[in-house]
């Protein structure tokens, strides 16, 4: 299990390859990557991600430990960036490894659902017309109920 909270970019391909090499007996590896979104309507200049050093690592570790136990994962990886990001930059990734794909997919979705609403990160979007904190969505909180 590896939890990384960092300002610098990460190499999605290198991380996915390293993760897969380390779990040769697992059979199934699932990765998910979150990317800074932009739309033509708003011209995003910068996305600033704030976090709560200390609590962030603790919350991610707790979530990852639960996923490891619940789906008997061979391994899992969570990388999340903070600081100033541009459109199309990778924000975060999760990877899960299990004997079969159903467990790897389910664990990745669980990690994402919990990470969105229970890990202390906040996004602020800076556009040409101003800066706004991204509001939490009711659907994200509701998504936790399925677990």
């Amino acid at each position: 299990m590896r939890i990384v909270v960092q300002a610098k970019p990460f190499d999605l391909g290198a991380e996915a390859n390293d993760f897969a090499k380390g779990v040769a007996g697992a059979g199934a590896v699932v990765t998910f990557t979150g990317i800074v979104r932009d739309t033509a309507q708003r011209d995003l200049e910068v996305m600033e991600i704030e976090h709560y050093p200390g609590m962030t690592e603790r919350a991610l570790t707790t979530i990852a430990e639960e996923a490891m136990a619940r789906w008997s994962l061979a391994d899992c990886l969570v990388i999340h960036r903070y600081g100033r990001l541009q459109a199309a930059d990778p924000i975060m990734m999760v990877a899960t490894a299990a004997r079969h794909r159903a467990d790897a997919f389910a664990a990745a979705e669980f990690l994402m659902d919990y990470l969105k609403s229970r890990a202390p990160f906040w996004k602020k979007e800076i556009t040409q017309s101003g800066a706004d904190w991204v509001a939490a969505r009711d659907e994200d909180e509701a998504a936790l109920k399925r677990w």
């Binding site: 704030e50 709560y52 609590m55 975060m92 969105k116 996004k123 904190w133 939490a136």
Partner: protein, 82 residues
């Protein structure tokens, strides 16, 4: 003495990321009442608790959580990671 931390728009409204607060507040709710009575900027920031979350010693907690022995309380809006 408790370290009180603020994040995201709450930090911007209160104007500091963290401060030490001398308090005998028994619960998080009591601490909020103390801060809100202190200055208008706190009262405004804490006016809608439904839009806020709290962590006590880096664990998510309820507003009625006790503060005995607690070192750090953090207030912030709902999280938007991922």
């Amino acid at each position: 003495m408790i370290d009180v931390l603020y994040f995201a728009w709450l930090r911007e409204r209160i104007g500091v990321p963290r401060e030490k607060v001398e308090t005998d507040a028994a619960t998080v709710q009591d601490l909020i009442a103390e801060l809100s009575a202190r200055e208008e900027r706190y009262a405004l920031a804490f006016s809608d608790l439904a839009s806020l979350r709290v962590a006590v010693d880096q664990e998510l907690a309820d507003f009625d959580a006790p503060l005995a022995g607690v070192r750090e309380v953090a207030f912030f809006p709902p999280m938007t990671g991922g």
